[in-house]
Structure formats: C-alpha cells, structure tokens
C-alpha cells in the first residue's frame, strides 16, 4: 500500500495539522540579555542554575521547560502520552534524566542541533497517526556541558577562531495535540521533511556553519520540491544554528539552485544573539538555539499574526570528539517542520 501521508521523496503531510497548544523556552543569562529578550519564559541568572554540575543544570532547564509548557496547556504529566526529547550530550543525559523526574513515557532522540525539529516532527507524526492525543517535544543545550564534552574545560584559555560559534544555553518544549476541539486558529504543524545526512568534507570542528549548510540546503530544496511550493510560500524560513558563516553559504547554495528566499531566510543562531555586542563569534549553535527561538519568539510571531507560515529547518552536525580526532569529516543533517497559523480544516467540514 502506498504511504498516504507521504509526498514527494522525503516529506510528510499531516491530514489534520497538529496543533501546538503551548510552548516554553528557558534560557541562560547571555541569551536572556540578547535581542530576543522578553520572548522567553524563564531567564536564569547564571549557568549553574543552583545545581551541583553543568549536566544537572541542563537537566533542570529542560525539565522546567516541559513543566511550564504543560502548565500553560493546563495539563498534568499523566495526561501526556509521550515525551520526545534530546540534547547534545553523550547518552542524551539531560533529556533522559529530566524524563526520569517527569514520569512521561519517553523517546530519547539524537539529531545533534536538529533535535528540536526532529522531536516536533515526530511528535506530530504520533498524533496524526492516531497513536497519541498529547505529546511533548523538547530539546536543550548548555554552553558549559557542550564545551567540556566537545572542546575544552570551560575555564581553558584557548583562543577561538572568529568563525566558531557559541553554544546556546537554552531549552524549549512544545505541547502538541490534535486540537480537534479548538476552533480558534492556532499554530499547527502541517508538514515534516526528513533530511539526508550530507557531508561535503569539512573537518574543522569549529567551522560547523560550513559543515551544516549543505544539509540545510538539501533539505530545504527537497521540501520545496516535494510540496511544489513557490519561494514566497513561507513568510519566514529559519535554520537552526548556521550562524554568520553557514547562513552566508546557505544563501549562496540556494541561489545556485534558483531558490531565492531573500529576506525571508534567517537563522536562529543569528537571531538569538547580537553578534557585534555579545562575545559569541559567528553566532549561536546547539539544540537550544532553534528550541528557544521557536518556542519563544517565533511562536509569538505566529500567534500575533506577524507571520502566517513558518518553516523551521533544524540543522545538526553529527560529529563527536572521537571522530574529529580520528580525522573524520563532519556529517550533518537537517529536518524541516512547517508551521502555519490555521484552523483545523477537517473540523469545519465535519461540522457541515
């Protein structure tokens, strides 16, 4: 039997767009002082958040994001069918340890920095497939946990190149539901395009923007081709964490393929910081980049009708310290989630 809800080569279309009932974004001090301040639910005053280790701090952050999203949707943890969450750490410890306390059936995901798009897309799949009524999609990253795992101890005084990126300290959570009872328009996930792993031979672990840009371009082009969309279909197309270098390359790659998005194309890693005023080099990176910008700023923009259609392209560099020390290049992946401010089309028809 042909897959009914699949279009083109890599895209899924949800028969009933999945509603985003509520969202929450919890961020660290640097993110809270950036250009998007005011769009986050919690801004922590320091990186340790009263925990005894960086890892415990990240766990607290993602747990709090999930709890706040549930609180906004007036749901208890018991009523959520599945939690889909992930982070950057080995064995996804932040998300898994948060799930231990939350007690929601858990699917741990690893898509590096693309995890927010991956969890949102899969959370929507479970709902549209009829396997769940409520799912929570979440992702997090923490500057200090990533530094220590991928690079150097946090207080090490090495000089970083200007094209490197600052790992965002943030967690985001989305509460998803079929939203059948809701007549009012709300942000709904309409499509999900799963990306292929791309690798064009970038080896420098500081240059992740360059490494990830081809994956972002591949998924974007595939999404527009699968759904036969015009370049102006989305009001905003945001990538997860390409930052200055990757964003410039992506523009060039899309231009070469005749998809000119112009000012509709932006990047969460560029939006979350003021690159000229804050010490973040080329911009932000990490799951928290797309998670916090989506769950805070972007959903606010949708809810206030500033934009109507949004495409989030989560971009992940699938490297580990072992692979780059062994001289391997950096494979990358990107997943696209389309979110639109709309009604439940089918509910109208059923009523009639």
């Amino acid at each position: 039997m042909k897959a009914r809800k699949k279009v083109g080569l890599q895209s899924m279309v949800f028969s009933r767009p999945v509603a985003i009932l509520s969202s929450a974004a919890c961020v660290g001090p640097l993110e809270g002082a950036g250009p998007l301040q005011g769009s986050f639910d919690v801004v922590y005053p320091d990186l340790l958040i009263g925990a005894k280790s960086w890892e415990a701090a990240e766990t607290t952050m993602i747990k709090e994001a999930v709890e706040i999203a549930l609180g906004k949707g007036s749901l208890s943890t018991q009523s959520v069918d599945y939690l889909l969450a992930g982070d950057l750490l080995n064995q996804c410890i932040a998300a898994n340890f948060a799930a231990r306390d939350l007690g929601i059936p858990m699917l741990g995901l690893y898509g590096a920095c693309s995890t927010m798009a991956e969890s949102a897309g899969l959370g929507a799949v479970l709902i549209d497939g009829g396997f769940a009524q409520y799912t929570v999609a979440a992702a997090s990253s923490h500057n200090a946990t990533s530094e220590r795992q991928y690079r150097y101890p946090t207080e090490y005084g090495g000089q970083r190149p200007p094209y490197s990126q600052h790992t965002v300290t943030a967690a985001g959570a989305l509460l998803l539901s079929n939203g059948l009872h809701c007549q009012s328009p709300m942000p709904r996930i309409t499509h999900f395009t799963v990306g292929k792993v791309c690798d064009l031979g970038i080896k420098d672990p500081f240059d992740m923007g360059s490494a990830m840009a081809p994956a972002a371009a591949d998924t974007l082009l595939r999404h527009f081709a699968d759904l036969a969309l015009a370049a102006d279909h989305y009001d905003l197309v945001v990538t997860g964490d390409l930052a200055y270098v990757g964003h410039a390359i992506l523009k060039e790659l899309l231009h070469q393929s005749n998809l000119d998005l112009g000012s509709r194309l932006n990047d969460c890693g560029l939006m979350i910081y003021d690159r000229h005023e804050q010490p973040v080099f080329a911009g932000g990176s990490g799951c928290g980049s797309s998670a916090a910008v989506l769950c805070g700023y972007l959903l606010d923009m949708l809810s206030s009708y500033t934009i109507k259609r949004l495409l989030l392209v989560g971009t992940g560099a699938l490297l580990s310290p072992v692979t780059y020390q062994q001289g391997e290049t950096i494979p990358c992946v990107a997943h696209a989630v389309a979110i639109e401010m709309c009604h439940d089309h089918l509910a109208d028809e059923e009523l009639r």
Binding site: Y152, T154, E155, G157, G158, Q159, Y163, L200, G201, P279
Partner: protein, 155 residues
C-alpha cells in the same frame, strides 16, 4: 561509471571547500600575532621583575628563577579559578598560552572542570588531559637534546 561518480563527488567537495573558505570569517592573524608578541613580552617583563624581587629578598641569581616560575603559575592559577583567564586567553592567545602561565591554566582549568567526577578519577585522572602532551613531548625533547649534548661532549 562508479569511478566517474566518485570523481564527481570529489569535485563537488573541492568546490564546496573553496566556497566555505571564501565565506569563512578570517582569523585576524596579524592582530593576534601582534597582541601575542606584546602580551607575551609583558609576561616576560613581569617574570624578570619577579627575579629582581627574589634577588632583592636574598635569593642567589641562579636560584631566583624557580620562585619566579612558581609565582607566575600561582597568578595564572588564581586568575583561572576566578574565571578571568579564559577572557585573557581569548584576547592574547599565544601571548599568555605559550609561557608557563598557559601550562598552569590548562592544568587548573581541567582540575576545576573534572572535580565533579571526584578527586581520584576526576581531578587526579584528568588534570593533565591538556597538559599531558606538553609533558610527554617535553620529556622526549629533553631526552633527545640530552643525548646530543652527551654525544658532542664524548666526541
């Protein structure tokens, strides 16, 4: 057929690496070199000042170097502990990284970072994670130089 496909892929990769190199923000090599030179020089001046200070305290000239090195290590370690050194390292690069101060920072930062894994496996096991290569190849170099020295004397 397979060969031409692989070659096409290699070409694509080469093109892409050129594009990436072109778009990548450039490392300010001249600025970094100049700052490293000046700051590195200042660290050395500080070291010389400390030698004079220890001679004034009554150390012999050839003995004053050891307390001078210990003092520089102490300063770098305290600044690392206070969370200031990483900013200094970003600003001055090799200027503070190459002198003994950088060595101290690499050990102290590792010790702080891994203390949460305990004193044995954390601090003890991983303190020299970054300094290890310096110690290993420092010792190897010293051995080779010592060997040459001995050979030259013997001849």
């Amino acid at each position: 057929m397979v060969g031409s496909k692989a070659r096409k892929k290699q070409l694509q990769r080469k093109d892409y690496q050129q594009l990436s190199a072109q778009k990548r923000l450039k490392i300010p090599v001249w600025r970094n070199t100049l700052v490293a030179f000046v700051v590195g020089g200042l660290v050395s001046v500080l070291g010389q000042g400390l030698i004079f200070f220890y001679i004034w305290l009554g150390f012999k000239e050839e003995q004053a170097a050891s307390p001078m090195v210990a003092t520089l290590i102490l300063i770098a370690s305290i600044l690392t502990g206070l969370g200031v050194w990483d900013y200094l390292g970003q600003f001055a690069g090799a200027g503070v990284g190459v002198p003994v101060t950088g060595f101290a920072n690499s050990i102290v930062s590792s010790a702080i970072e891994f203390k949460r894994e305990g004193y044995i496996l954390g601090v003890g096991g991983r303190m020299f994670q970054l300094a290890g290569p310096v110690i290993v190849y420092g010792a190897v170099t010293a051995f080779v130089v010592g060997l040459i020295h001995a050979l030259v004397q013997w001849l």
